[in-house]
């Protein structure tokens, strides 16, 4: 019997604001899992802190809701412990690019075999409207009353220079596009970053659905070579009248788990705990 949307619903009452972009992300993640035919018991979702963090309360797979900014190290280890699992990391823009930024380039260069889905609303929502690292310069928030003086972090160029092997952006107002991008990210062998432009209907009055609808252009419709790093980097810097979405860059490279001899014989979790210690102990004789 095939999986339905209802099977992936925990039944928890959803507390996101009506119209929040997170609904679309949750829905399309479920659709992607169904369309890929994945078994929920073989999927682990790790989430951080912020509005996005509630995803693990709403998505019925194995879940670990960790602390702020620490999705990546937890997800990395889960994948190494059992590389048979499909690992999805969910983070907000604050989670990923402020407090968790110290982990980001490392997960990227290691090419951890997982999808990292960033709910990027360019604002802090759950803490009621402070500036985020992706807030655009000039954005007025509770902590930037004269408009943010800081240029925003660009998740895409960060991903590219970090060494991510799948770099994409999609928009919560384009459900079908998002599902397709997510499916590719989940099946990509390596570290796949999906930056999701996700309007915060309560605290961000600038980067709204309307704002994005007027600006987003699909790379695949405009013609783009996903294997061309320089073209990807060029397009990733565009943010103005045109905001490109789609898959910017794809590269095949050995994944993190490929480098550990202990994993060659199968997932670590399946290997017996007791081992012959005589060789190890002999070193001290």
């Amino acid at each position: 019997m095939s999986l339905t949307m209802k099977d992936l619903d925990t039944g928890a009452t959803n507390t996101w604001c009506p119209g929040c972009g997170n609904f679309a992300i949750l829905m399309t993640v479920k659709q992607a899992l169904i369309q890929l035919g994945l078994n929920p018991s073989q999927v682990v979702a790790v989430s951080g802190i912020g509005c996005h963090g509630k995803t693990t309360d709403y998505l019925k797979v194995n879940t670990f809701h960790v602390i702020h900014g620490r999705v990546l190290p937890a997800a990395t280890a889960i994948k190494l412990a059992n590389h048979g699992l499909t690992v999805l990391g969910f983070a907000g823009d604050g989670d990923a690019f402020n407090i968790g930024m110290g982990h980001f380039p490392h997960a990227a260069r290691r090419n951890v075999n997982m999808a990292y889905i960033v709910h990027d609303n360019l604002i802090y929502g759950l803490t009621t409207g402070q500036a985020s690292p992706t807030s655009r310069q000039g954005l007025v928030t509770k902590t930037t009353p004269r408009g943010s003086a800081e240029p925003g972090v660009n998740p895409l160029t960060q991903s590219l220079t970090g060494g991510a092997t799948f770099v994409a952006r999609t928009f919560a107002g384009e459900a079908k596009h998002m599902t397709e991008v997510l499916k590719r990210a989940i099946t990509h062998r390596g570290f796949a970053v999906v930056d999701v432009l996700q309007p915060c209907v309560t605290f961000n009055r600038v980067n709204t659905y309307e704002f994005y609808k007027q600006r987003v252009r699909k790379l695949e419709e405009e013609g783009h070579d996903e294997g061309d790093f320089e073209a990807a980097y060029r397009r990733a810097q565009e943010w103005g009248d045109v905001i490109p979405i789609g898959v910017f860059y794809v590269e095949e490279r050995p994944t993190y788990e490929d480098g550990f001899p202990a994993l060659a014989g199968g997932p670590l979790v399946g290997q017996p705990l007791s081992r012959d210690l005589s060789g190890l102990m002999a070193e001290f004789k």
Binding site: T10, A12, P40, S41, Q42, V44, V46, I49, K54, T56, D57, K60, V61, N62, T63, F64, H65, V66, I67, R70, L72, P73, A74, A75, T76, A77, I78, L80, A81, N82, G84, L85, G102, H103, H106, F260, P261, A262, L263, L268, V269, Q271, P272, L273, S274, R275, L277, G279, L280, M281, F284, K285
Partner: protein, 580 residues
């Protein structure tokens, strides 16, 4: 086997020089050779935090009886530079010998007033003749020292050859270096008068606390070690990294201690026995994750090797200043275990047991050590693997009901059934938010109190488990005139002090507190008569814990907080001072 010394039954060799001269390695090799000849050995390294230059020294003691500690005295000094002679001559026993490079042209008659003999050896010239690297001077010096103390050069050659296994040219060169040094001094027909008798059988092994912890973790089935380099825990990371194939383990040098703790937690959630290790500064970064392990009830083992703080402090020295931090550090109220081994045997068996405790109770377990303990070598009998058992606690592999699988089921003993992601028919939640039995977040007053109570109900079971592991260990006289109290790396010098006090005619015992949290019961019965507390910290932190848990306040303490471990003689002197 016999060995020559100056006095009593112990010979003490100090190897001094600059960082980068292979001092630690030399000391370890000499110790291994002496162990093979049947001696009990103890070796420790004193080094500042730098890579080249500065002054480093290794002290090795070999004895016909067990030795547990460094002392300030040396019978033989191997001085790899001139500076070492000046720094160590004053603490040499009368009649001792100094092996130094002929090129250092020491002042004629230096130390003669105290009966100290100089043994100039052409260390540099011999190495040049052999065509070896400069660092091989220490191998020549080891050969010379062997002759001086009557150690068989063949054993030393064998030990050195094993280190360079497969590299025949280097082995040959080192063997020649040992022989040349040996012959040079033996030819002078000096040597010490006293004979040390070794034991009847070779000692089993020669290793550091870090080595023992690594083996304990391996024996317990630990398969994942994530850490950020930090003295004195780095050797654990080196061990796991260099034995990943042999041990079937994953070792990761992480981007930070936060990542190290989070990776250990992630691996544990996914079903792997995992561990991280650090020192105080790194543990500070780990505390938020420690609290996550507690809330999500994910087993976690952390090795916290103490060094002096605050802040960077003395990066390569020793302290016991993080005891209360280990017991109380991290936000929120939760159960944890803090266990402090005091020698290499305890490092092994308690490290192995730490994994059982962490999994049985689904809590963080902190293995609290110090630089002296984890970086010093000791001889001991081979570890008895039959004493290590693996108990993973309440695990479910599949779920057939009744009802749905509840990761945080409100069981009587507070411990809920654990499952790993990937198990068919089970979905495994873990949550940093307060949660319901099914793992979903909640803020309901009733549900929150219920879950806090569930976690706290583990307390009595944790306590019972700890009480079964000899949380208080007592050594020495059964009807003592004075009781010494201490923990961790202070155990070694305290045990040696007991022997010295016995020789002084003072009946004494040493009470070692091994488990710090939960604090073991029954300590009161030992706190009778004159008691002296010894700790490597300024504020007597164990004293604070003892007062909090028993009401007993120490009148007498011996505290050292200069980054160095106690010498047995200091402990003896302080006890005699207290006794008046």
């Amino acid at each position: 086997m016999k060995c020559k010394g100056l006095r009593d039954d112990t010979v003490s060799v100090v190897i001094g020089g600059e960082a980068g001269q292979g001092i630690s390695r030399s000391g370890e090799l000499l110790g291994k050779a002496l162990m093979r000849c049947g001696f009990h050995c103890y070796g420790t390294m004193d080094y500042p935090s730098l890579i080249r230059g500065g002054h480093n020294f290794y002290q090795l003691r070999a004895s016909s009886r067990p030795v547990y500690s460094q002392t300030p005295y040396a019978d033989v000094l191997i001085a790899l530079n001139r500076e070492s002679v000046g720094l160590h001559l004053g603490s040499m026993n009368a009649g001792g010998g100094v092996i130094h490079d002929e090129r250092d042209a020491l002042e004629e008659g230096l130390g003669r007033d105290r009966g100290i003999n100089l043994y100039p050896v052409p260390l540099t010239d011999i190495v040049k003749e052999l065509g070896g690297p400069d660092i091989m001077r220490n191998t020549v010096a080891l050969g010379a020292a062997s002759a001086l103390i009557g150690l068989d050069a063949g054993t030393l050659k064998q030990v050195v050859a094993e280190t360079f296994e497969g590299r025949e040219k280097i082995i040959k060169m080192n063997e020649d270096a040992i022989q040349r040094g040996y012959t040079y001094v033996a030819g002078q027909d000096y040597g010490f008068g006293c004979c040390l008798e070794s034991g009847e059988r070779p000692r089993g092994q020669w290793l550091t606390g870090n080595d023992a912890i690594a083996l304990g973790a391996m024996a317990a089935g630990c398969k994942f070690y994530s850490a950020y380099p930090m003295t004195p825990a780095s050797p654990l990371l080196h061990y796991f990294a260099s034995h990943d194939k042999a041990g079937g383990t994953v070792a990761i040098q992480t981007e930070s201690e936060i990542a190290a703790a989070m990776m250990a937690i992630g691996a544990s959630y996914a079903g792997i026995r995992s561990m991280t290790g650090t020192s105080g500064g790194g543990f500070s970064l780990m505390t938020e994750s420690l609290s996550l392990a507690a809330m999500s009830e994910t087993p976690l083992v952390v090795m916290l090797g103490q060094r002096p703080g605050p802040s960077t402090g003395l990066a390569t020295y020793s302290a016991q200043g993080d005891l209360l931090f280990a017991v109380y550090g991290a936000h929120g109220e939760f159960q944890r275990i803090v266990v402090a081994p005091g020698d290499v045997d305890e490092c092994f068996y308690l490290a192995a047991e730490a994994f059982n405790l962490a999994e049985r109770f689904q809590i963080p377990v902190i293995l609290l050590t110090d630089k002296t303990l984890v970086e010093s070598n000791q001889t001991t009998d081979a570890f008895d693997l039959s004493r290590v058992s693996i108990d993973r606690g309440k695990l479910v592999e599949s779920w057939e009901g009744p009802g749905e699988y509840l990761r945080y089921r409100d069981d009587e003993d507070g411990v809920s059934p654990r499952a790993f992601p990937g198990a068919e028919g089970i979905l495994v939640p873990a949550n940093s938010n307060e949660h319901l039995e099914n793992g979903l977040s909640t803020s309901s007053s009733e549900a929150v109190a219920k879950m806090v109570d569930k976690r706290f109900r583990k307390a009595q079971h944790i306590r019972a488990a700890v009480e079964g592991l000899q949380p208080i260990r007592v050594y020495g006289d059964k009807r003592p005139r004075v009781t010494l109290v201490g923990w961790g790396g202070t155990k070694g010098p305290a045990l040696e002090a007991l022997g010295m006090l016995r020789d002084d005619g003072v009946k004494a015992r040493f009470v070692q507190v091994v488990f710090m949290e939960p604090f073991p019961g029954g300590l009161e019965k030992y706190l009778k008569g004159t008691c002296v507390l010894f700790e490597d910290n300024r504020s007597a932190q164990l004293g604070t814990l003892i007062r909090l848990n028993t009401g007993y306040a120490f009148k007498h303490v011996g505290l050292r907080y200069d980054g160095r471990p106690f010498n047995p003689g200091e402990i003896r002197d302080r006890v005699l001072e207290v006794l008046g």
